[in-house]
């Protein structure tokens, strides 16, 4: 029998992303206060917390999605492998190829299944010819556990798939640019339990190649898929630690109150 401790062990101590004293303002609203976090490589990190606690805001800082919000202002430093991602020389489009994102609602492009996955590699010029592109599309769909279901209808529209399949298509699209980090903002909240289980299984497999950060409202999902958990409350990062510890013996009383269903 496999040792349970090995199974859930985090095999690395390498920090992929380091955030220091991150502040986010939306106009005059101070949405995120003094957030310090180290996101490990090849690890699933879950952000939990009540609505409006800042977890999605922080997730969006990690690939500069907040740049698109006119009133948003980000302070502090966030580095990806030691490089400041807010450096003016960094191209946000290139950055987002390295830090992919999957959203709450499946949002495939109104194109064929094939083109949905091929889009990223094409615009970033990651492949030299059609054969290589075919290979990338197939391998990404396989990684997203979707290949067997769609291999005979790659030319049909992505929007024609079921909700769970669409979400896995979006994950295939997100990993097609070979990102280093995958951000997921409540990727399963619009899915049924079967599709949720498939996506969670996928997240666990992706962990061997990427650093995955997932925002979820389902405490049980955070407990199931992540190795590290961060609890946000009122714009503060209250507690960050090993998932098992957070769910059995959290240090901060606010964490305890939240995970046991005492504060909303």
């Amino acid at each position: 029998m496999k040792d349970l401790r090995l199974e859930r062990d985090v095999q690395t101590t390498v920090n992929k992303i380091e955030a220091r004293k991150v502040q986010v303002y939306y106009g005059t609203n101070h949405a995120l206060k003094d957030v310090d976090v180290d996101i490990l490589d090849k690890t699933v990190t879950a952000f939990i917390g009540p609505s409006g606690c800042g977890k999605s805001t922080f997730l969006r800082c990690l690939n500069r999605m907040n740049d698109t919000v006119a009133s948003a202002r980000v302070e502090g430093s966030i580095t990806l492998e030691g490089e400041n991602i807010y450096d003016p020389r960094v191209d946000p489009v290139q950055l987002r190829a390295k830090i992919g994102m999957v959203f709450q609602k499946p949002n495939p492009f109104p194109k064929s299944i094939y083109d949905n996955v091929a889009y990223g590699p094409k615009i970033h010029g990651l492949t030299r010819n059609k054969a290589e592109l075919d290979e990338v599309v197939e391998s990404c769909l396989r990684k997203a556990a979707l290949w067997n279901e769609v291999k005979d209808r790659l030319a049909s529209p992505g929007t024609g798939l079921s909700g769970g399949q669409q979400q896995r298509l979006c994950i295939a699209r997100a990993i097609a640019t070979s990102p280093e980090v995958l951000l997921m903002d409540e990727p399963c909240s619009a899915l049924d339990p079967i599709a949720t289980a498939q996506v969670e299984e996928l997240i666990d497999e992706l962990r061997s190649q990427f650093s995955v950060v997932i925002v979820t409202h389902s405490m049980q999902q955070a407990a199931r898929v992540s190795q590290k958990t961060a609890f946000f409350h009122l714009g503060h990062l209250v507690e960050y630690g090993e998932t098992g510890t957070i769910f059995t013996n959290p240090i901060d009383p606010r964490t305890e109150s939240y995970i046991t269903g005492r504060i909303g």
């Binding site: 407990a223 013996n249 269903g261």
Partner: protein, 235 residues
């Protein structure tokens, strides 16, 4: 510990429900132990018989605790201190069920002993020991109700006294048996009774340790305090 109510008030009612069941069990076990010791001393077969038949109620409660806890885990997915409450309740129920069995065994043996000539001072000593253990159980359960780590620690300390009482009785019964072989049957029964009461003390200690885990999230790091053993060389 977190004393705020849950947003889902039914969750609070479920947790309070299983804790009330375990306390009801505790009350029955304390009474069974005291009654069985009284029955031994007063040679009251009717009382012993009542203790014996009363054990079924304790067993039924343990089963109910387990069923409710399993349902609670399945439906509410408790975490952190809530999870510790559920796990602790199950372990306490199991310790109490075992203790109830020992009280029942004492009652059974007291019916047998009532037919024999008495061993001087033995029944009184057994009653004192069982009262002491009964107090340990009560303290352990009080500590559970109030999440009182200090009281739970004191229960662990009290177990040493019980071990000493048992060692004393062990030597005493040995002396009686060596003096007159006709005492052997009675003394063997009495020795088993003393050993079983000593085990109830161990169960009370287990409950106390569960309370410490419930309140702090960690089991006591220091080993259980131990008195001199009756086993030669085992010190």
């Amino acid at each position: 510990m977190n004393n705020e109510p849950h947003i889902a008030s039914a969750f609070d009612r479920d947790l309070e429900g299983v804790q009330a069941l375990v306390l009801k069990m505790g009350g029955l076990v304390e009474a069974a132990l005291a009654d069985a010791a009284d029955a031994l001393e007063s040679r009251d077969d009717a009382l012993a018989e009542r203790v014996r038949s009363g054990d079924a109620a304790i067993d039924a409660l343990e089963e109910q605790v387990n069923t409710e806890c399993i349902r609670l885990i399945a439906t509410r997915a408790p975490t952190a201190s809530d999870l510790r409450v559920v796990m602790t309740v199950m372990k306490i129920a199991s310790a109490l069920e075992r203790s109830g069995d020992y009280a029942k065994n004492l009652a059974k043996r007291s019916i047998v002993l009532a037919q024999m000539r008495s061993i001087e001072g033995a029944a009184g000593a057994i009653r004192r020991m069982s009262r002491q253990v009964g107090l340990m159980l009560k303290d352990a359960l009080d500590a559970f109700i109030t999440r009182d780590v200090e009281l739970a620690q004191s229960v662990r300390q009290q177990d040493k006294d019980i071990d000493q009482m048992y060692a004393g009785l062990f030597r005493e019964f040995l002396t009686h048996m060596m003096e007159d072989p006709r005492n052997i049957t009675a003394c063997m029964h009495l020795h088993f009774i003393a050993k079983n009461i000593e085990r109830v003390g161990d169960h009370a200690t287990t409950i106390a340790e569960q309370v410490i885990y419930l309140a702090t999230g960690a089991f006591p790091a220091d080993p259980r305090p131990k008195a001199d053993s009756v086993i030669a060389g085992d010190r």
